[in-house]
Subunit: 267 residues, 2 copies
């Protein structure tokens, strides 16, 4: 009986080709692959440990940076407006809200691999009640990213995301048609790289640009040093930061108001 069963199995498998030595070799090969898998997992864990350790080292430096930035008027507004991607997202009204932006913070979750948050803190302002607007990105083990965000509690008649304020003031829009603040309310889930609609992918792009490009070195954009670089060319850009100190001179050039002086002369 045993023999027959075995025989049948061999027939199924076109046994002529499948000699026991081959089966054995493939089993051994599978064991080696399992070993490799374990080594790879251990390597990933070790890399993660390094990233966690260095995130802890970076945190107080980021905190110190936030304190310094706090004393530079319109720092984040200027950095956003000088950024080739982010500058297209702020409407004229959004820019007025950004005048009240007190701090920006990007924080990995403690284990690094399960997500991060982006927090905008605002001074009391005529637009919304919130002191903070936060967007949270959670990565699952299955490779999906889910997003939650604070929908701003707009004050009466100040909701920038329904277009009312913009129409009322009849602004010419230098930048975005839509409000950046829509981004906080929107939520989405990213399954994997394929099959994302463009809209969703822009949605994640904003987060990734803030986290991976603006946040590591906002001074580069504040100083407008990224102008001549191809935006895609991030790696080389990092080498160009040494002469960033000269940046202050470029500050506020655009807001120059030559008319004021003339009026003074006439009176």
């Amino acid at each position: 009986m045993t023999d027959k069963g075995k025989r049948a199995k061999v027939d199924e498998d076109e046994g002529a080709e499948l000699d026991p030595e081959l089966v054995m070799a493939i089993e051994k090969l599978q064991e080696v692959q399992d070993d490799l898998e374990r080594v790879n997992e251990e390597a990933s864990d070790k890399v993660l440990e390094v990233e966690q350790r260095y995130n802890e080292i970076r945190r107080p430096v980021y905190n110190k940076r936030n304190e310094i930035i706090h004393n530079i008027p319109d720092f984040w507004l200027t950095a956003f407006l000088s950024h080739p991607v982010l500058n297209e997202l702020l409407s004229d009204e959004d820019q007025k809200v950004f005048k009240y932006l007190e701090s920006l913070d990007v924080e990995d979750f403690k284990d690094v691999k399960s997500g991060y948050s982006i927090t905008f803190a605002f001074k009391p302002n005529p637009y919304f009640e919130d002191a903070k607007l936060t967007k949270i990105f959670k990565f699952s083990d299955e490779g999906t990213t889910s997003v939650t965000g604070s929908v701003p509690k707009w004050k009466d008649g100040m909701d920038l995301t329904n277009g009312v304020v913009a129409e009322k003031e009849n602004h010419k829009r230098a930048h975005a048609e839509d409000s950046f603040f829509k981004w906080f309310g929107d939520s989405a889930q990213k399954e994997s790289l394929e099959g994302i609609q463009d809209e969703v992918s822009t949605f994640f792009l904003v987060a990734e640009v803030i986290k991976d490009d603006l946040w590591p070195n906002p001074l580069k954009y504040f100083n407008n040093e990224a102008d001549e670089e191809e935006y895609e060319d991030d790696e080389e850009a990092e080498d160009d930061e040494d002469d960033a100190g000269k940046g202050a001179e470029e500050l506020d050039d655009e807001e120059e108001e030559p008319d004021e002086d003339e009026e003074d002369d006439e009176s």
Copy 2:
């Protein structure tokens, strides 16, 4: 005098807005960015150290795997032909050459970050003199990749890359029109992600698929387990490898000839 010089500079800078405190703040900010840059470099170095250490741990496992594979006939040929990208690169003639393929090896340079090599070792064969064909990818600090490769020393009338052999034998081509072996002779330089022509990008794709997909787990392809997975969906695919042991049974399933049993019944 000093005062005047200072004044002139301030005028240039639209000084009304540029108080010394602001200049100081921006200088401090630059210092913090420099600190961050140092932390980031240290973090990269530590990650690299981990990768180097684990490459050393993997090497003997890969060597052991190569020995096992050596005893499985046509292992690499089968894995190539079962791979959704690589299978399109082997012409009928290439497949005959692959019968002489004795081993495949992918090795990072010792420092990991400066490059890697892909080596195909062949048994003595009627096609070319070389015992090994190697392709070397060198990364520069500036982000470019340069490639060198062994051009096969074809035996008389056996050069698959000039199309002569193929024409002579008047083969219907199930797979590639061009020979895979052209890939060894081609050389190219990749400056950055943007601006690569399609041709160059296919060129690097072959190397990347071999290095990052085939090499980590060729058994998956040999067993034909990757069939139902979207090729792009690599991350999830790795979770599916646990049941790879059953692979031997699936081997050659497609060549099953159901007629045999019926014939047995009739006789």
